[in-house]
Amino acid sequence: MKVTFGTHTLEITPTGDSYVAALNDKTINVQIVRADSGRLDLLVDGKRVTAYVSSDLAKRWVTLDGQTMLLTKTSGAKPGVRHDYAGGLTAPMPGQVRSVSVSEGEVVKKGQTLLTMEAMKMEIRIQALKDGRVKTVHVKPGQSVEREQILMEMEDE
């Protein structure tokens, strides 16, 4: 079984009562001691490891030793889809657009407030990441937006 998370590809092979994982030119012996309710008790090269794992489509949430990591399962052939759409400003969280301070074609400075959003009773300012020109504005004040929805697109001046 071959699995890819981002830039890491693992080859997992069952061998009797355990598994061999090949990763980054290393070979690791893994045994599943117990698996229930999103919890895995493993022996990784003889060391006891408890991992909590949840799946949400291609995403895998993993907690190990109190550290939580989010992995995305990708097809090994293609690079993963990037969330920060090139040149686009996306909504950091779901909410409502409060105001749009710029119009299409306007030249803006790095750090300038382009748009404000409201979510969870907070006001969030969306600012320009660098100097440039507003290419397209996709949203209007009052509009509800999803997380990672593209709000506006920028281009170099």
Partner: protein, 501 residues
Amino acid sequence: MTITPLPFSKILIANRGEIAIRIMRACRELNIPSVAVYSEADANAQHVQCADEAVLIGPPAPKESYLNVDHLLDAARHSGADAIHPGYGFLSENASFASAVESAHLTFIGPSADSIRAMGDKAESKIRMKQAAVPTVPGFENLESEQEFKRAAGEIGYPVLVKAAAGGGGKGMRVVHAESELSEAIALARREALNSFGDERLLIEKYLVEAHHVEIQVFGDKHGNLVHLFERECSVQRRHQKIIEESPSPLLTPQVRARMGEAAVNAAKAVGYFNAGTVEFIFDPRADSFYFLEMNTRLQVEHPVTELVSGLDLVQWQIRVAAGERFPFEQSGLHQRGHAIECRVYAEDPASGFLPSTGKLLQFIEPRGPGIRVDSGFRAGDIVTHFYDPLLAKLIVYGETRASAIQRMKIALRDFIVHGVTTNLDYMQSVLAHEDFAAGRVSTNWVEDHVREWTPAVPTEEALIAAALADVAFAASKSQSSISTETDPFNPWKQSNNFRN
């Protein structure tokens, strides 16, 4: 040796999330049925499941549900509740609501509307405190034009703090470092103030750079007894909102503690206070001086740390005091014992400026063990929406000493498993492990500096392996709840015969 029956036949809790559940637990323990209210977004929320009855009060937007006084009073009438507990946030510090509750011949579980009004107006309260000889921060109130703000800020000296006169909880609050930032800060703070409190008036005051936030819990019955339950150190903040609180403060000497307690009791007495309240101070550890900041005329998010060190149940006492009970204790009989710390577990991403995170909770496993308490509002399968405050749970620990409480908290944070939304759990671990925290050197702007050094965990080899194997392992265990290997890897007989001889 039985509990005296209280005069309430049913209590409506005008709130949601962990605090609604906390109050319902107290109701259950006092044998009083509780009524939950909920918005359309909260139909499946834990506080609804936890109540004896539940009433829908409107759409998700707080203005149309949890902040809608008419709907709440209708719900109380409808369900036959004779008292209302407002929790914290929402309408808890709204004097008009307290008045409306009393006008409807219901008991408001909190202070009088007059006390709320007197302390709710930050400008007015500051004047009152000056009269009561409680030390206050240099600042100005009742400013209108931008010119007036500019003049005031110049006189105080930058940095200054612009904040909502009617506010609290960090909403409608902005630090301004230079005159060029003042105009936008005023506009934003005004809008947030209007949105959060329905009142856009602002005040301006000196912003202390190395300030610590230390507050005193006060409590009064309706018979004139007013005590304090010692301090809480609440200096670990982001966006002016507390994330870690503890009691005792590592910085207060017994002398300063006594003086601060006395000042807090005087502040509360100046407004004829009863029920639970908190007097917040800015504390300058270099000068051992403190200034009155504001009084929160309600139960505080961080009340559990006081419960653990004082041994008292603050929420039960809120209900008892509202019912007219008299304190069986006096100030001299109250003592701090041990050390308590609270960490607020938020659905938010510390790596992206603590922006809230939403989604379905795929796992939600609370830590447990001696000295660990979790006040939570969620369980696995629940959905965290963007409509409300992203507080998932409060993790509180008790230890004999500060060092042992810190150690216990570090372990508890590691054992708290939340999947489906990003949380600040990992970040708080780094705060607890930091030498500045151990030394009590964390002032209110420390997080802003420290979070830049912090990065979330990078996937390890073991994480990649666990993620890959999970698909196999959980698929295999679908029909049964666990799988076990027949052979045991630690079997010593595999290696040697020493035990069998």
